[in-house]
Amino acid sequence: MSQFFISILIILSGGILSLVLARQAKSARIVSVFLISFGCLWGLIDITSTLIHSISDERTFEYLNIFSLSFKMDGLSAFFLFAVFGVCLLSSIYSFHYMAHEKKPVRVAIHYFFFSILISSMALVITASNILTFMLSWEAMSLSSFFLVIYNHEASENRKAGYLYFVFSHVGAMFILAAFAMMYAHTGNLAFGSMTQVPETVKILIFLFSFIGFGSKAGVFPFHVWLPFAHPAAPSHISAVMSGVMIKTGIYGMIRIYMLLDLHTPLPGMVMIIAGAVSGILGVVYALGQHDLKRLLAYSSVENIGIILMGLGIGMMGVSSNNTAMAILGFTGGFFHILNHSIFKSLLFMGAGMVLHQTGTRSIDALGGLLKKMKITGVTVIIGSLAISGLPPLNGFAGEFLIYLGGFKGVAPDTPAFIMAILAIISLAVIGGLALACFTKVVGVVFQGEPRTRAAEKATENGAFMLFSMSVLAALCVLIGIFPGFIIQLPLKAVASLGLGFETALFEPVMNITGNLSFGAMVLFLVFFLVILIQAFFYNKKTITASGTWGCGFTQPTVKMQYTGSSYASFIMDFFRPVAPLSEDHPAIEGRFPLKTHYKSHISDIAGLHMNQVVVDPILFLFDKLRWIQHGDIHLYIGYILLAIVLLLFFI
């Protein structure tokens, strides 16, 4: 594990050096990008060898002689670390040109400092092996990402986003702490160890508490409310890291707790599948309704977290019903989707960042026609969109395919998982269709057609480092999609380390499945190639003319007449009206020659809406009444502390 700590130190040194060199904008950026990427690369290489050789290792450091910080590396940790280091490596390379035009050098330096802390704390969360280490790293992760979210704190909406994120991550942490407290109360041991002496009901309670706590980090509906605000506020490479890997630490937490609890009731699986289906469907519905490109991607993360939860839930159902094949397929599919989602979601956020960089707007309906001038961005985003819609032959499909197969295993006669399996399969099918609608909207409205505004017309693409990161990710989407057999080893190692008692021989069928997927991809490419040949044959020596688009008889079309993203989505949104209420602002047109009018629409998120009414407003009301406690007199505050300690003494 010493290699792992070296990589963390390199990353942190990058952050600290950027503070030291803060005044020299360019050198600070070069040094910190280089060190952070180098550290990530170092970590990535180390993790790869750890995974391949299935090494597990432990390290403990005494801190102040009171408690120990201990870290443990096993297959599960290594799997998540692989995604963390991989995505952070490319994001930090991307940031080199993304941050090049920032005016305030000190702020950029501080951003790199927190970026390095975010990466290292994520890595430490994943390797933490006792409660204290975990909570410390978890808080460091939440706080550093909070500072990154409020990077542009001049805009009030970004401050609001940061505040919301802060509240959610801390309420979440409170739930996690409560779950840990219950664990400690029954085991008397701070380490993540055996929990055999914990009664079954307490185990379930621990699971539910940690599900809520980790779910609020992962963005599970209805705890996802912070996500659509925080992701658009942060710089794009930070969004890529947050959405690509940081929210997955929530998933990691759930799995780690599940593993420790060793539960054999169907309840965890049911909770995961139901929460997954709801997050998945509502996430993609809200994504479809958004006008802001990065907010759309944020909601799509909620959707993908849903898919991951369903995969893992199928795995848990398989464990509880002793259906080994179902368990392996579900877990492997879920883990595989974690990896895939971190690839295509960071790619899409980077693409959105490039669009934002060039046009200065995130509004989907203000863009258009970008594919002509932003070729690499356009093509990589199209690849990412195909992958996230779960279409073959890209990586998104490979993961979902495994989850489907796991779900079907649960459908077979005499399994108790029947209803849950049906729910998961049908939800996956619906999510697939809706995601296709959502991402054809992104591709069709943002990148195709004619530019709707001047800003979109003038856009070009530059920044070799940005394009490099995006191209690598897009290439990975395609390669993993065609040859899932190589990369599937990583999720399989993670599943093997879950300690569910599966024989390694049972992993053989999964390899057959990936073989079939490669075969299917080959067939697809072959057929496409043949059809391209046919097309070329029929166009040989033909006259090809260019002309305007056929306007169905209308001869004066303007770019404003194009179908907008909102109108593209409205048809589907009508169907989901009960869960996605639409508010419109459109004054009636008056007079014979109306001069000016406007139209505004907004799709509300019912979780946000109800959370305001049910939770936030009453709490604000209550605390408003208690405001007199906060009077600003420090002596009385010390008095409060004394009083609290005295009161606590009664309970000991």
Binding site: F397, V411, I426, V430, G520, V523, L530, W550, Y568, F571
Partner: protein
């Protein structure tokens, strides 16, 4: 294998014929003589001889649209047991794969439509993105039923050889539901009345036709061939279910093509006696297919 490939080529060659049957049946109900039954072949030949006009708004995605949509349809046929014979390729889970391949085709058709910057094509694309979602859910519901009955997850295990007959033996009543469900899916996925009207004259009311307005010449020919293949695929599923008999080779072959003709005629009759639904009513109609498949699955819970 060689027979399967021959059947695959035969399927592509005969696919336009069944579209001709639909037109003939509609003409019969309209009291007209109608176009010759081989009309679609003439159209294809005519299109292939022409050149093309491309809109200045379009990019490479526009040219890729026809390729991928036809390629997807052809790939699907490769996994389809034609005339009850084993398909060219088959693997566990190929049904899921081909459903997603059809989705891939849809993605590129929509992208090609959005490429033209035409408001009409955008409108068609929005509809095309919507209805198949429900169809997919219904199809997966049917798969769940089939999986319960057979424990397999490939088209050939449901539709090749004696397998459809075995399905009827295990669960006859639910299968009736499935046939109707498949028929609704066929109407929706192939843009037929009452979901979409391929013969309408107003762009505002179209779904599929309006999306391919700007395609011309061989490109449009490829799209047309793709949609014939898609119709052939869905017709095959129904044909094998309504005439599940597995007799000697030639008789099965004849029965199979009779089944396809029956399905085409049923489509023609439906188109003649029904009007297209109002756009906002269509989802309810398509949801019926999901409900039917769901009921079929619920019924089997009793039998097993």
């Amino acid at each position: 294998m060689i027979e399967s490939i021959l059947l695959f080529i035969l399927a592509i060659l005969t696919a336009p014929f069944f579209s001709g049957i639909i037109l003939k049946v509609k003409a019969f109900f309209g009291g007209k003589k109608g176009p010759p039954i081989l009309i679609q072949y003439y159209t294809l030949i005519k299109l292939m001889k022409k050149g093309s006009v491309y809109s200045k708004s379009t990019t490479f995605m526009f040219k890729l649209g026809p390729v991928i949509s036809l390629g997807a349809a052809l790939t699907v046929l490769l996994f389809l047991p034609i005339a009850g014979h084993v398909p060219v390729f088959s693997f566990h889970g190929d049904v899921i794969f081909i459903l997603y391949v059809l989705g891939l085709g849809r993605f590129f058709t929509i992208a090609a439509a959005m490429d033209t910057a035409s408001p009409f094509e955008g409108m068609g694309a929005a509809r095309e993105a919507y209805f198949p979602i429900i169809c997919e859910a219904a199809f997966f519901m049917i798969l769940i039923l089939f999986y319960r009955l057979t424990g397999e997850l490939s088209l050939s295990s449901y539709f090749s050889g004696p397998n459809p007959f075995l399905l009827w033996n295990i669960a006859g009543a639910p299968l009736l539901f499935v046939v109707f469900s498949f028929f609704i899916i066929l109407l929706t996925e192939n843009s037929r009345v009452p979901v979409d009207d391929p013969a309408t004259h107003l762009e505002l009311t179209m779904i599929h036709e309006v999306m391919v307005l700007d395609h011309s010449g061989p490109d449009f020919g490829l799209i047309e061939l793709g949609s014939f293949c898609k119709l052939f695929f869905y017709s095959t599923l129904i044909s094998r279910l309504i005439l599940p008999f597995d007799l000697n080779i030639s008789l099965t072959f004849v029965l199979y093509f009779m089944g396809l003709a029956v399905v085409s005629m049923a489509v023609g009759v439906t188109e003649s006696v029904m009007a297209r639904y109002r756009m906002d009513r269509v989802p309810q109609f398509v949801l019926t297919s999901f409900a039917l498949a769901f009921f079929a699955t619920i019924i089997t819970l009793e039998f097993i």
